[in-house]
Amino acid sequence: MPEPGADILIVAGSELVVSTVRTPLEDAGHRVRAVADGPSALTELNRQLPDVVMAEWDLSGVDSLGLCRAVRLDPELCGTHVIVMTSAARTARAAEALEAGADDYLAIPVERSELLARVRTGRRTAQLRASEARLRALMANVPGAIYRCAPDRDWTMELISDEIERISGYPSGDFIDSEVRTFASIIHPEDRERVEAAVFEACAAARPFVLEYRIQRADGDSRWVLERGQLVHGTNGRTWLDGAIFDISAQREAERERRKREAEQARVAELRASRARIIEAADAARRRIERDLHDGAQQRFTAVALQLRLLISRLQRSAPDVALPVEEALDELQRAIDELRELARGIHPALLSERGLVRAVEALISRLPMSVKLREAPAQRLPQAVEAGLYYVIAETLTNACKHADAGAVSIAIGRADGRAWVEVADDGVGGATASEGSGLGGLKDRVEALDGRLTVLSPPGGGTTVRAEVACA
């Protein structure tokens, strides 16, 4: 396959030289530029770097020596291949040119085939040099230590980039040819065997490897590193391990912190969920007990009352004197039914399930012997657990207001906004209530917190009591 043409810059004072060289190169498909002196040559070089520079030796106006030095000193230009052209009679000066930094020399006139061959070689060299420069830039800039080492137990380094000093605290020179220390010696003793086994296994299978292990730094600290590497075949039948080592201590630490945080969050969430489950189970039990009382004992007592009533109406006809004590028994039974009914309602108001919080609170208020005003209430029903939670807050708070607060008036507000539901019960009583452990308010606190909420009690002595509960309500 023919190679694509090369970019060539000819620097020559004599037209003869230019034409001798230029024509055959252009015929061969190369792109040729020509300038007549050193300063123009530098300008051209900086404008666009050619693959090959062909400079005439010390002819008028061209300081070839200076040009060579300038090219070699400038890292931007050093990728180009410099061929110095001398006249056949002066080849002795070629050594001087090579000394100054030229890559090659050519005696003019030259055979066409030789000219083309030299340019081809020169261009390959330039390309190699460019790729090496790229590799060096890469090695210097990658945030890890790039290495090539022998696949032995010591990790005998052929080369390792300077980054290793930042990672390990030891200069890269220490590891070259295991001059001062072997790389294996800085691997954490607990990890060494594992790392060695993994690397040899990967090499045997001709697979790349990725490992995480600890190294021991010069300052005694441990660092976590990640190493990627692979067995490669070099020249002369030699094999190498090529790879890179990255410091991942910060990531590992962050990861560990994140896991710890997640575990903690999960634990808190689970605690909250389990508390919510316990309270929900208790609420469900209350509903069941109320239902059992209603469907069981209450129904039976009422049926017995009915039978007694029928018995009484018969006795009144046949044995009126017996009817009276039976009637007294029936009255007693009616009172028992009343008590049972109030008990069941206290355990769980059926209205709460059937018509919701607002109706249940209205019913509760209407049975109280004090003035209670429901001044604000949501139009829509709330989730069952929220309604139950807020209901018991209101019921308990009203009970306290009745029993202890010596309150004249109580007002209740229930609201819902921004994913929260809240209730506020305020009385004008004696104040001084606390939500301490074991009190009725303490129990409410648990219940409210299980709903991801907060209970606040404002109760200055003599200043009334305001209880506010706010819970999550999706």
Binding site: H294, E354, P369
Partner: protein
Amino acid sequence: MRLVVADDSLLLREGLVRLLEEAGFEVVGQAGDADELVRKVSAHRPDVAVIDVRMPPTNTDDGLRAALQIRRELPEVGVLVLSAYVEETYAHELLCDGAAGVGYLLKHRVAELERFTQAVRHVGQGGSVLDPEVVTQLLGADRHKDRLLANLTPRELQTLSLMAEGRSNLGIAEQLVVTGRAVEKHISSIFTKLGLDPVPADHRRVLAVLRYLSDDGS
């Protein structure tokens, strides 16, 4: 008078049926759940359906819902709803379309034979009956104390309660052991003091009183 009786407790239902039959009613159908109730009422067109609130299928307020359905679809059938608890909310739901032929009583009143059979008869005749406990809730709550009720005499308050329960003038007179004329005087005074338009029919009177009491003062 023909009745359908609905209660999921067989024991209680049998007791109710015997009691009602002994009192001279004809029980033409029995139901153990809300669907059966609606079916039997549609088939028999009784004068009154006596209905327990809590019944299958959901065991919550199925009986009340069935009663509301019967009120809508067969307004000539009276409904007497029985409940372990009486709640204002339920009373309002039952009465929101008119009080004719509606009753709402605590369940254990069934053992107060006289009162219960009277209530069934009253509802069957298009009257209305409210449990005294509902009326107590409406009257008893302190929320009304700043209102015109404070102007009523104790006798007038008693009369108001009995009116709300759906008693007729005669019933009120018997209860308070006064003459019919005295009752009329109390009623007229109550309506004047509360600023209500006088309404003669008992069941309309119940509604007017209920509206007044449940109107939250604003």
